[in-house]
Amino acid sequence: MNKKIGIILCSLIGAALIALAIYSGWFFSTTLSEKELEPYAIEYSKRGSQEFLKTTDTALGEEFVFFVSRQTDPTQTQSQELFVFKEKKSIIPFAKRYYKYTSTAGSQMYLPVDALWFTPNGGNNLDVLLQHAMIFYSANDQNISKVDCIISTANGEETQSKEVSADQAFFLNFYPFGNVNGINKQFVKANFYGSDGSLIYTFGQ
């Protein structure tokens, strides 16, 4: 009887170890370490970019790492480039790994700034109020130095301003949109200005 129990226990432990080994193999082979993220972006860049601006954001409880191409496009024929990685949840402790959440490489025509609307806490979670983010990113070949983001709420419109270096790529995140503490916040538009205050580009209505 004891022998039988011993065999069963050993088998269960063995099976669990095999399952863990298979899971670990799959987990590490399908994810990237933090160091591997930029080489990944370089490899898949459609602009041939060798340099990226890296930004880590833990907005809305999820960790994202963003890479914006610093490669300007004098021909103005290619879209801006953004790679978004998300931290992969895992049962393995201390293994901080990422997967490619989305990318916009080579997707559209040239604009001075590209805009990505996404839902960081998405995936159809029925028990939380989903909130959204608007991301603006650019290699900044038009030397943008300030952004005004106009947001509509129940109390009217409000403007959030952010400044960036006119001679560098930038990444800007405006959030949350959606139901925020019972108030419905909606994105209206964003105005991008140069150092001299001139309006360079408007995104939205």
Partner: protein, 332 residues
């Protein structure tokens, strides 16, 4: 003996894990209604799909990598379906972009697309399956396979799509607010065809929700082929279970209806039971009335029975109308 015991444990563990994975999966799928007409029906579930919008005009779909393998496989299938739908139907894509950027979180889209043919006396008639004559109809079944004018003027074929969308609403701990949009739109037709070939009589759009939910709000909008909004519609019937609108499908070109939208809010308790929302479009070419009967019960689909309310729609003139039906199944 030892080997046998180990084998049995492995088999039991494998069977258990497979069963557990399957039972944790949501059980819903597209229903293929039996219809004598040429039509396609599909449901796309946004479960475990991440939707991002680039520059307000491109939808980027990705699968949530934080879910289990089987859910991921299913989500990949839905992603493929969605991408194909967007590729073949740009109007649907614009609608999704508008909804997503209005802070909505789409849960599922069901759509039924019907091929229609211009009849000798000028109205649009459904194409019967037995009429399907080879490559021409097959080509036309691919939405947007031809330019609008080319399709309508040269071949006399068009499409009507009936699309239902359900969004995740607000959960306040006891009551859930479901948001449902039913949209009918013509494509591959043109305003010019309406000028020459009038179709008299109102068209109707109806949506019924399961009786575990109650409709608390409804609104309607209508768009003409020239893109202008129209107010030529009326709410003819409505209660907590179903809503019926009638609207002009104008015979004389410029006011030809291109899109009808019914928006509903329904309140109810959340449940994991499979439920179904039924939508109906009735196209007429003679003035008539509808008598609507309600049949509550279970609709049987490939994924099992679902609670629903069906509508028994009886037009006063049977041979001057046809109907298009679109079920949408959900489980939350």
């Amino acid at each position: 003996m030892k080997m046998k015991a180990v084998k049995q444990i492995f088999v039991a563990l494998t069977a258990f894990s497979v069963l557990a994975s399957i039972t944790m999966l949501p059980v819903y799928a597209s229903e293929k209604a039996e219809s004598p007409y040429v039509e396609t029906h599909e449901q796309i579930n946004f479960d475990n799909l991440n939707i991002a919008i680039l520059n307000s005009d491109k939808i980027i779909v990705s699968v949530d990598e934080d879910v289990g393998l089987l859910k991921k496989v299913k989500a990949n299938t839905e992603k493929e379906k969605l991408e194909n739908y967007l590729k073949s139907n740009p109007i649907a894509g614009q609608n999704i972009i508008q909804n997503v950027q209005a802070n909505e979180n789409i849960y599922a889209i069901a759509h039924t697309d019907a091929l229609v043919e211009r009849n000798v006396d000028g109205h649009w008639e459904r194409v019967k399956k037995e009429q399907e004559n080879g490559s021409l109809v097959k080509a036309l079944l691919s939405p947007f396979a031809m330019q609008a004018n080319a399709a309508s003027e040269s071949s006399g074929y068009a499409h009507l799509s009936l699309e239902s969308t359900i969004w995740n609403g607000n959960w306040n701990g006891s009551t859930y607010l479901y948001e449902i949009n039913t949209r009918a739109y013509w494509y591959d037709n043109s305003a010019e065809s309406g000028q020459c070939y009038p179709a008299g009589g109102e068209d109707f759009l109806l949506t019924a929700v399961p009786n575990t939910m109650g409709i608390s709000y409804d609104s309607f909008s209508l768009k003409n082929a020239n893109g202008s909004a129209s107010s030529d519609y009326r709410r003819c019937n409505g209660n907590a279970t179903y809503i019926q609108y009638a609207f002009e499908d104008d015979p004389f070109g410029p006011q030809q209806m291109s899109e009808a939208n019914m928006y509903l809010q329904a309140k109810g308790s959340r449940t994991t039971q499979l439920r179904q929302i039924n939508s109906y479009y009735i196209h007429t070419w003679k003035q008539m009335s509808l008598s609507v009967g309600i049949t509550a019960g279970a609709s049987v689909g490939p994924d099992g029975p679902s609670a629903s309310v069906g509508l028994d729609i009886r037009p006063s003139i049977v041979d001057k109308q046809w109907q298009l039906y679109c079920p949408l199944r959900f489980y939350f």
